[in-house]
């Protein structure tokens, strides 16, 4: 985990131009968490995960000169691979920042798990729950009590993108923190 973050930070310095573009993209979206995800969406599915990693790594990396208003810009949507519920390094980085903010409050959290449209609906409902639980478990390790967290799975019933292609599927396989 630590190593991955470090290597992400190193690559950020090397790619400062890319970072500047991504950060300006994110800040241009003001403080709306959902819009942040959508900006990434427009820049293709892979970029969504990358942007989350970069934004959260940037928040941690004091050496990078761009500063972000962390409370307003915390990534609240975490994406998953096909039929997988393991957290990507990008999601972990984003969750570290969320956990840190949540430790300072007593707010309850709702985690909504989602799947893409492929395969059967009830299996996808179970898959969405497994994803949301993976996020809840990770937050618990980071000190956010499981009793504050409600997990609800919508399976494939609430897609972000209604298209039937890989980019849409990448956006729809997600957990939303609310």
């Amino acid at each position: 985990m630590k190593n991955k973050l470090m290597s992400v930070s190193t690559s950020i310095v090397k790619k400062s131009l890319f970072l500047a573009i991504v950060v300006s993209l994110i800040t241009a979206c003001a403080s709306n968490k959902q819009q942040e995800a959508d900006a990434a969406a427009a820049a293709e599915a892979e970029a969504a995960a990358a942007a989350a990693a970069v934004a959260s790594a940037a928040a941690d990396a004091a050496s990078v000169e761009v500063s972000i208003d962390t409370a307003a810009n915390l990534e609240s949507v975490f994406y998953f691979e096909y039929d997988q519920s393991s957290l990507t390094s990008a999601a972990r980085a984003a969750l570290d920042a969320q956990a840190s903010a949540l430790r300072d409050t007593a707010d309850n959290v709702r985690l909504e798990g989602h799947a893409d449209e492929r395969g059967s609906r009830e299996y996808n409902l179970a898959l969405g729950e497994r994803r949301a639980k993976a996020v809840a478990d990770y937050l618990a390790i980071q000190g956010v009590s499981r009793s504050r967290v409600e997990v609800v799975s919508y399976g494939e019933e609430r897609p972000i993108s209604l298209r039937s292609d890989d980019a849409a599927y990448s956006l729809n396989r997600r957990v939303e923190l609310k």
Partner: protein, 432 residues
């Protein structure tokens, strides 16, 4: 053939316009050499009726894919009694069978007397009469279709059956947020007609399941912003929330004796199969495994369930004995098999099966593992068998829309039932 097809689709469209939300049947594949039948408009006496019952029969038989109905324009005469039938005329038109009838209606009832003839052997095969209360003309016509179909194929007709499905309208979201949706649980005749809403919600509705007597249904609704399993009596609309546990409450499936519901709950940590005694709500936990266990379907003897589990790493179908808990994997072909549903004899099942070209509906024999893929589109799901086991309904995407489709188990007949105004999914064919 093309001409016959056009007529069939037109008559289905005509009737579906009576109720705006009805599904429209588009038959896409027929059997290679369909039986040719002439269905003469029924002569009517008494109070006017607003349904052309002979046209409903023609649409039913055409939709089975096994019959080709002669266009009315081609008919030389319109007999309604046996002594008006001239076999030579019908032979000349190339038809094998002839159905005639006359209907009578009062303010209270409607009846049809009908007769089916074998044109080649020049003999009467059925002479019968069917009636019901006024206003149920379509139901009467479906009974005639059932009788003709059974006489000519040896298989019980399923034209008088019904289906449940979920209809979803999606409204574009502002700022690309999650789009807003309006869900309806719809009950319709098996031909898509007489669609009526039995539940409406702004939150997801899924997994409709029939009780074996066809009088009650169970389903999952998110109306409380969490999934819960409900039971609803069709005739009265009376409903009750059966489960509302923390986590998943999903995939209800009625036992063959109608007294129990298999379901999936994750209240004890992760998705497990449970069986609930409906009268007492007493729960029996069936599976205990850290994997996903879901989508139970009953063996006809009510003593075991088949279900989807990814305990082997990928979703596959397993069978569990309810009394011993003994569990055995039953699918080995392919890396994704899910949502299985048993045929009435318990010897084979239909399910969602993934291959290199996507997610299809497949049939598998339990004893041998022999697998046949029945559908070719790539996002096929939710197979539901007709009560006579000859066809199955499923959900797929066609031209970017969620549509229902059907295929005969021999793969020869296919039709689609798109909705003119919404995405439709989750079909459940009634048991009777």
């Amino acid at each position: 053939m093309g001409f016959f097809k056009a007529i069939a689709v037109m008559s289905a469209v005509m009737f579906s316009q009576l109720v705006a939300a009805d599904l429209v049947i588009e038959v896409t594949d027929w059997v290679k050499d369909p039986t040719k039948i002439a269905i003469v408009p029924f002569r009517h006496e008494g109070v006017a009726i607003d349904q052309d019952m002979a046209a409903v029969v023609a649409a039913d038989l055409t939709r089975s894919g096994q019959f080709e109905a002669l266009s009315r324009d081609a008919m030389y005469s319109s007999p309604s009694k046996a002594n008006e039938v001239h076999y030579r005329d019908w032979r000349a038109l190339g038809v094998d069978y002839l159905l005639i009838g006359h209907s009578q209606a009062t303010n209270k009832s409607v009846t049809v007397e009908y007769e089916l003839f074998d044109v080649h052997r020049q003999k009467s095969l059925i002479k019968s009469r069917v009636g019901n209360r006024k206003g149920s003309e379509r139901a009467v016509a479906h009974k005639v279709s059932d009788s003709v179909y059974q006489r000519l194929t040896g298989i019980a007709g399923a034209f008088s059956t019904r289906m449940l499905y979920v209809s979803v309208k999606t409204f574009p979201a502002k700022n690309k947020n999650t789009p807003k949706q309006a869900y309806q649980l719809i009950l319709a005749d098996a031909d898509g007609a007489r669609a009526r809403e039995i539940l409406k919600s702004s939150e997801p509705i899924l997994s409709p399941s029939w009780s074996p007597d066809g009088k009650q249904i169970a389903y999952v609704s998110f109306e409380s912003s969490r999934p819960a399993i409900y039971r609803q009596v069709i005739a009265t609309g009376e409903r009750e929330k059966l489960t509302n546990f923390r986590g998943l409450n999903s995939a209800p499936s009625w036992s063959p004796d109608g007294k129990r519901l298999a379901m999936v709950l994750s209240k004890d940590g992760n998705p497990e199969l449970y069986v609930m005694e409906v009268a007492t709500r007493k729960l029996q936990r069936i599976t205990k495994n850290s994997a996903i266990d879901t989508e139970p379907s009953w063996m006809p003897d009510g003593k075991s369930l088949i279900f989807t589990s990814d305990r082997g790493g990928r979703p596959q179908i397993y069978r569990v004995d309810l009394s011993s808990g003994a569990t055995k994997r039953i699918t080995y072909t392919g890396a994704y098999n899910a949502k299985a549903s048993l045929m009435a004899d318990g010897k084979s099942m239909v399910m969602v099966h993934r291959d290199d070209s996507g997610y299809h509906i497949a049939w598998q024999e339990l004893a041998t593992g022999r697998l046949i893929i029945l559908t070719s589109s790539s996002l096929d799901e939710s197979p539901s068998l007709s009560p006579n086991g000859s066809m199955l309904l499923y959900a797929t995407k066609y031209q970017g829309r969620g549509v229902l489709a059907a295929v005969s188990l021999d793969g020869g007949v296919r039709f689609r039932l798109p909705s003119p105004s919404s995405d439709v999914r989750e079909p459940a064919w009634s048991p009777n």
